[in-house]
């Protein structure tokens, strides 16, 4: 059982991916079904706006969970699920943005431009979405090869900023009770904190591995 979990076969990974693909579709099908059966409550457009936004943020945080989880649990294959989670986060963000453009603003471009410029919570939400576009656009293997691993990774580090902007977007829109955005903020802090901690650990390990360098000033090390 444990070995199976540590190094699953190609087939097992494929099955995991299919399962995850279907799992991530559940919020959308559920919303579509409730829209169709008129059970989204009194304000269905608000329910769709909030639902798509919630799932964009949840899936973004889920994609950010992969790296620390695979390190802590020692399950390197989890990495193979990350792209799908990231793309689904983008998919729900796109639905969220489309809902705003269409159902909320009815393509009133002047009103939309005004919102983006004048309403801070829209500004940060829009910025998060814009930053997410190039990440989605470079998520396939050919793009990674074309950019080169290093550049690709540097580009995709903007996901940290996107995470922060998304939580701020949520935080600034709530009227009074900040419990929900605070929960997302906490999760994001843990996920980013785990990375900082991992980095620090790695730095120390490298320092230990090369004891001589310890006496060499840092600025020389750069070369």
């Amino acid at each position: 059982m444990r070995a199976w979990l540590k190094t699953p076969s190609r087939t097992a990974i494929s099955l995991f991916k299919i399962a995850l693909f279907l799992l991530c579709l559940i919020p959308l099908t559920s919303m579509a079904w409730r829209f169709y059966t008129d059970s989204l409550g009194a304000n269905p457009i608000e329910a769709i706006t909030h639902g798509t936004g919630d799932w964009a943020l949840r899936l973004l945080l889920a994609s950010l969970t992969i790296t620390p989880l695979r390190q802590v649990a020692g399950l390197p294959w989890l990495m193979r699920l990350r792209r799908m989670l990231g793309l689904y986060a983008f998919f729900y963000a796109l639905l969220h943005f489309t809902t705003y453009l269409w159902l909320d603003q009815f393509f009133d471009w002047a009103g939309i431009a005004h919102d983006i410029l004048k309403r801070p919570f829209i500004t940060v939400g829009f910025a998060a979405f814009v930053l997410l576009v190039p990440l989605a656009a470079t998520s396939f293997n050919a793009a990674i090869r074309a950019l080169g691993g290093r550049k690709w990774q540097a580009l995709h580090r903007s996901v940290y900023a996107i995470g922060i902007l998304s939580v701020v977007h949520y935080w600034w829109l709530v009227k009074r009770d900040i419990t929900q955005p605070a929960i997302y903020a906490f999760v994001l802090i843990v996920l980013l904190g785990a990375r900082a901690w991992q980095r620090e650990k790695e730095r120390r390990r490298q320092l230990r591995a090369t004891p001589l360098r310890r006496v060499i000033p840092i600025n020389l090390q750069v070369k």
């Binding site: 409550g41 009194a42 304000n43 457009i45 608000e46 909320d104 919102d115 009074r176 009770d177």
Partner: protein, 312 residues
């Protein structure tokens, strides 16, 4: 404006037919339930009798009423939780009998009124009012109630009374939301004396021909249709006439975003969102928000010469 209604508008066009039938059923039900002998239901039937006497023709607007199911399931009532569906889920615990409303402060005859006394204070009237929430959505609600001025006159306000403060029940046993310091409890609201005496300002006891449900502010609530919804305090237990402007719940919580007046005004945006348009519950497209929620003809004179951007 208030009493007049286009002659060609049949009552059946205003209140959906099934609601009319429900209303009759409600009255029958209230009667039969009263046989069980509980005090609550007995007074319920007293209300039913009172509601039965209303001619449903005092309708000032032609907007289509929002379906009852939406009016009773999509509410802001933070004492029962901050989600829109929370009040409908949790407000069932609210005991609305016995109920007293204390009216005190700068008046010659301060006293407390039982809910039964309030129901008999003035003839109940049906008022179909627009309700515009500060969040940007709106409804059209058929209330039953009586003018707030009737109650205030009964206690004989003194000349020094400039404002009226309203307090909502704050009972942590019946109201789970009281545990969280989201707003200052008890919820307080206020009106200037002339606003409170305005004939459009009512105390509502019924909705869609039935006794008010807890999520809508049972057993008695304020309805001030030209102001954002949060001004219309629910489940009122205390009314105080005073000289100083009352510190109202939302203005205390966030003075930059919510003012004392909070009149519906499409030209004065909430700092974080536009108030120019609104989503009428049940409609697909947004509609333009009207000055004073469409009651400018009746109430604009209350604010002559005031800078409404400053006094938001």
């Amino acid at each position: 404006m208030l009493i007049r209604r286009p002659a060609d508008l049949a009552p059946s066009e205003i209140t959906p037919q099934e609601i009319y039938h429900q209303r009759r059923n409600f009255i029958r039900h209230a009667g039969s339930l009263a046989l069980l002998g509980s005090a609550t239901l007995t007074s319920g039937s007293a209300l039913a009798a009172a509601l039965n006497g209303i001619a449903p023709n005092k309708i000032p607007i032609e907007d289509k009423p929002t379906p009852r199911k939406d009016v009773i399931s999509y509410n802001n009532y933070y004492e029962f939780g901050v989600e829109k569906e929370d009040p409908a889920h949790y407000a069932g615990t609210l005991k609305t009998r016995p109920w007293t409303v204390v009216v005190e402060g700068l008046c010659n005859k301060p006293r407390s009124f039982s809910i039964e006394e309030l129901l008999k204070l003035a003839p109940l009237e049906e008022r179909l009012y627009r309700m515009r929430c500060v969040e940007g959505w709106s409804m059209v609600i058929p209330w039953e109630g009586f003018p707030l001025s009737a109650l205030l006159r009964a206690v004989q306000p003194q000349g020094s009374a400039k404002y009226v403060a309203f307090s909502t029940l704050a009972d942590s046993k019946m109201m789970p939301g009281i545990k969280y310091p989201i707003l200052q409890w008890p919820y307080t609201e206020g009106l200037r004396m002339d606003e409170a005496m305005h004939p459009l300002a009512i105390l509502a006891v019924g909705l869609y021909g039935e006794e008010l449900l807890p999520q809508n502010g049972a057993p008695i609530r304020l309805v001030v249709p030209w102001k954002y919804g949060f001004k219309s305090a629910k489940s009122i237990v205390r009314i105080r006439l005073q000289e100083a402007m009352p510190a109202t719940a939302w203005a205390v919580a966030n003075p930059k975003e919510y003012g004392f007046y909070s009149n519906v005004n499409p030209e004065v945006d909430h700092p974080r969102w536009s108030q120019a348009t609104e989503r009428r519950i049940g409609e697909f497209s947004k509609r333009k928000t009207l000055m004073f929620n469409g009651y400018a003809d009746q109430v604009a004179s209350l604010y002559t010469g005031m800078d409404l951007k400053k006094n938001f």
